[in-house]
């Protein structure tokens, strides 16, 4: 399947990936409105983590046997067998935080306002996820990863 791959050597830590993740998952899809005016501003599903000289992005790795799916109390989290996408039905989520407790990458984000979790959905319906499309230095690339 196609996954987001991170190239540490190219990342400058500008956090535009976080900005565009929020825009993409907002109501307005507008950079100003989504950040300034939307009452329930979405949380970014990608987080830049810095520990100089290292830098990385915490985001869902679309695990093959995901612990978040195994431990989900409500059945909201599931893995699509065909596409391999680990996905989350926000309408079923009750914000129990159990998936957050078990994700090895710390990639499941708590949306405390909505009392649900959020995770990378690889921007379904788009050719390239917003974080990748807007990364100015190609630190995030979208490519086929086996399996």
């Amino acid at each position: 399947m196609k996954k987001i791959v991170f190239r540490e050597e190219a990342c400058m830590g500008c956090r535009l990936c976080e900005v565009y993740c929020i825009v993409q998952h907002s109501m307005s899809k507008d950079i100003i409105k989504s950040h300034r005016r939307e009452e329930t501003k979405p949380v970014s599903r990608i987080t830049v983590e810095v520990k100089k000289p290292h830098i990385m992005t915490a985001r869902c790795q679309q695990c093959k046997t995901p612990l978040c799916v195994a431990s989900c109390l409500s059945g909201a989290m599931y893995r699509d067998a065909e596409s391999g996408l680990v996905t989350h039905d926000v309408d079923k989520c009750i914000g129990c935080w159990t998936c957050t407790m078990v994700c090895p990458f710390g990639a499941i984000v708590m949306d405390k306002k909505r009392k649900v979790v959020a995770k990378c959905d690889l921007c379904q319906g788009m050719q390239v996820p917003a974080c990748v499309a807007n990364c100015p230095n190609d630190a995030l690339v979208y490519q086929e990863v086996s399996p």
């Binding site: 790795q61 679309q62 093959k64 431990s71 935080w97 078990v102 990458f105 086996s146």
Partner: protein, 426 residues
């Protein structure tokens, strides 16, 4: 005759069916499940009572889950007898179901404290959807509730009842709430949140008697504590915990300790008989021994292992441990593994309490390996810690970072990050 027969219809049975079907799409499966409901999520009963979860949200899998997986169902039936020699299960309807592989996933039942007056109307336990429906029907009119027991179930019930507007008092025998999961600092933070939501907490006491209502002795009217103190109420929730439902296997030769004893493959001492979920005493990776863990995620994982092994794939259970994530009274909190080590000489305990932010973190290490941790109000990187613990990673070199605000996957040494990314994700 079914190739696979499963007694139980909750998460352990569901995940076993999913695992069996991954391996064996055709083998016949039958389940015997007492509760007359579709596959629902028990941990959501608090949300159901509070109104946060609708009936649809309560459903753990599609309402066609059993038929989609070609499972023959005996729903509303109770297994009453097992015969391991002739290999069959008998139901209360007199039906005899023969098996090649049997899975016991009978779950747990509430521990009901012996309290005088607990047969009065308005006294509830809080485990199943039926319990939640009973409580929900009653609590809409109720004004005052007493929750007996300040563990996970009690705190869940108190939170839900508070949400619907009842005045709640929790009575806990120990000196603080959630004493099995948390330490005193963490318990205090949750207690404070509960109190500021209007909950009264009485610790160090127990309920001596449940008294009747003035004018109608059949209904709850008052709770009398061992101190003599009285609390008027119209609801009592008994939340003293759960115990494995092992009555079905009594005197069958099946090895039972606290729960049904299973090996790392979820196999019992009887050939072709497996057990998983709340009823099983499965491997705890922290203690290295078997342990009854009445938790949803562990039941799911045990069910998967059981299903794979029953279907012929040898798969060793990696083990579970105490693990709870809480959201009650809007305090996100996590407790995993040994959170209150007593043999202090062997353990190195790191703590960090940021009282301005109301954040508390505690990690217990033994020989450089995480054996347990508590996180309150900053839990988003709990999974990284859980993984380090489960994989037995020596964290001595970066232990100072475990409790820091920016702890995350980046805190791990580079070689470890690469290894995990490779192993887990791909």
């Amino acid at each position: 005759m079914s190739k696979y027969v499963i007694v139980g219809g909750s998460v352990a049975a569901i995940s076993a069916v999913e695992a069996i079907r991954e391996v064996d799409p055709a083998g016949t499966i039958a389940i015997i499940a007492e509760e007359p409901f579709p596959t629902y999520s028990r941990p959501l009963i608090g949300d159901y009572v509070s109104g946060e979860a609708t009936w649809d949200k309560m459903m753990y899998r599609s309402d066609r889950f059993w038929s989609e997986n070609k499972v023959e169902t005996f729903i509303g039936s109770k297994a009453v007898r097992l015969n391991f020699t002739e290999r069959f299960v008998e139901t209360d309807a007199g039906k005899r179901i023969e098996y090649e592989k049997l899975l016991l996933a009978t779950g747990s039942e509430p521990l009901i404290p012996k309290i005088d007056g607990s047969n009065r109307k308005g006294v509830f336990v809080f485990i199943t959807l039926a319990d939640a429906e009973n409580l929900k029907a009653k609590c809409e009119k109720a004004e005052k509730a007493v929750v007996v027991g300040g563990g996970l179930i009690g705190v869940c019930a108190a939170d839900a009842l508070t949400e619907v507007g009842a005045k709640v008092t929790i009575v806990e025998l120990k000196e603080r709430l959630l004493s099995l999961l948390f330490n005193s600092t963490a318990s205090r933070i949750i207690e404070e949140a509960a109190r500021s939501s209007g909950v009264d907490i009485v610790t160090g006491h127990t309920v001596a008697r449940i008294g009747g209502m003035l004018g109608d002795e059949s209904k709850v009217g008052i709770v009398v504590l061992d101190s003599g103190e009285t609390i008027p109420c119209d609801i009592v929730v008994l939340a003293a915990g759960v115990r494995p439902r092992v009555e079905l296997v009594a005197r069958t030769g099946l090895k039972v300790n606290k729960g049904i004893v299973v090996d790392r493959f979820m196999h019992t001492n009887i050939p072709d008989v497996y057990a998983c979920g709340d009823v099983a005493e499965a491997y705890d990776f922290v203690s290295g021994e078997g342990r009854v863990l009445p938790q949803w995620p562990t039941a799911y994982m045990e069910g998967r292992t059981a299903g794979h092994n029953m279907a012929g794939i040898s798969e060793e259970y990696s083990g579970g441990t105490v693990m709870s994530a809480l959201k009650y009274f809007n305090v996100p909190a996590v407790a995993v593994g040994i959170t209150n080590p007593t043999e202090n000489n062997d353990f190195e305990v790191l703590t960090n309490h940021d009282s301005a932010k109301n954040v508390y973190k505690k990690v217990a290490l033994k020989d450089g390996v995480i054996k347990g941790f508590i996180l309150v109000n900053d839990i988003c990187k709990a999974g990284v810690m859980y993984y380090l613990m489960q994989m037995n990673v020596n964290v001595a070199r970066f232990k100072s970072e475990l409790l820091s605000e920016d702890f995350g996957f980046i805190s791990l040494p580079e070689h470890l990050r690469k290894k995990i990314l490779k192993e887990v994700a791909q």
